[in-house]
Amino acid sequence: MFLRPGIELANLSDVGLHREQNEDYYCYAEPAGDEDFRRLGRLAVVADGMGGHVGGQVASGIAIETVRDVFLAYPGDDPGEALLAAIQEAHAAIQAYAREHPELRGMGTTCTAVALRDRDLFYGHVGDSRLYLIRDSAISQITDDHSLVGRLLREGAITPEEAAVHPDKNVLTAALGMDSAVPGDFSEAPRPLYPNDFLLMCTDGLHGLVNDRELLHITLSNPPREACHTLVRMANDRGGFDNITVQILKVI
């Protein structure tokens, strides 16, 4: 695997304490050629699959592999467009696979993908996995949760405190592989990052049990690799109800 200078990378995925299978999947990739790397930058993706049988992990696996393959082979020079094409293709690939394997019908996955070209951030996002930016001792959630609770929160119907304990926290309003159109959010313009910024990507197994302030504190006070281990341990200490996946990219 290529890991060119410019970032420090760490990631970790854990099945948690209650599931037998890990339906989360994730990857980090860079184009092999230096020219392609200058054109597209680097890619990091997390996905949290859902669906009975093995559908969840099949869907998240297809999403990650397709997003990576399409992104790395993208002919244009706009990483944002590459992410859009990659996520659309992943959506179609999951649907096609489900058509061939009726026992997997209804499977879907979240997918949160970032491209980092030099220090410009691009992202594409579907579902309730999250991308955070940590800068200057502050954490901001860049992606909106495509969940019923997220929608109620954005529309002011419930408070953040109510959202944290809402019984329908697990209900998504959008997922890859479901419905006919890709219901995702994509960055409209690249967002400039600066040295010592952190990107933190995670599935709801982490952000459901570890709050934003804790994510910030742990990320800032540990090297990325230790931060990943500490965050996963915290989620497991608090019940580990779901699979837990986290990726941290530190800009250097």
Partner: protein, 165 residues
């Protein structure tokens, strides 16, 4: 120096094989790990974990809903042309995001009206809304009224044509 597998997963120095790649079986074009197929345990059944643990991510559309028994179609307003499903039982209509039928109009109350389907009849009830609920050419707000196929309901600036199944 950190060690990563081909898919960018961080590895312990002692690992030869990445457990996350091995799990999915997608590497090298192999079929997905179908060998571990098992039925998921339903809450309350044997082996189901306690309390919050059984919570699975589901799509909004997967939540079991009562059957559709009719529709509204918006004839006016910003949502002109949109259709809204009416389901068996109680359907709240209003501007609140958790209403069953969400209408975006400042003249519509959060919980403006309620449509009830029971015994193959539809009854519309105004929920003491600020600006009232009007039926067809009526000039006075209704309180409770039976709806018939092709009736037009007016709330704020929105007219809704009613179609029953």
């Amino acid at each position: 120096m950190a060690k990563f597998c081909a898919n960018g997963h961080q590895m312990e120095d002692s690992w030869e094989i990445c457990p996350y790649c091995q799990r999915t079986g997608f590497q090298g074009g192999a079929a997905p790990a179908a060998s571990k197929t098992r039925l998921e345990t339903e809450p309350g059944k044997e082996g189901a974990p306690a309390q919050g643990a059984g919570r699975k991510t589901v799509l909004l559309a997967d939540k079991r809903k009562p059957p559709v028994v009719g529709w509204f179609v918006a004839l006016t307003g910003d949502q002109k042309g949109e259709d809204f499903r009416i389901r068996d039982g109680q359907n709240t209509i209003g501007s609140a995001p958790d209403a069953d039928i969400v209408l975006h109009d400042t003249a519509i109350s959060g919980k403006h009206a309620s449509l009830r389907y029971k015994d193959q009849k539809f009854f519309i009830t105004d929920l003491d809304s600020t600006n009232g609920t009007f039926l067809n050419d009526g000039t006075e707000s209704i309180t409770r009224q039976e709806l018939k196929d092709n009736d037009v309901l007016r709330l704020g600036d929105i007219s809704l044509k009613f179609k029953c199944l």
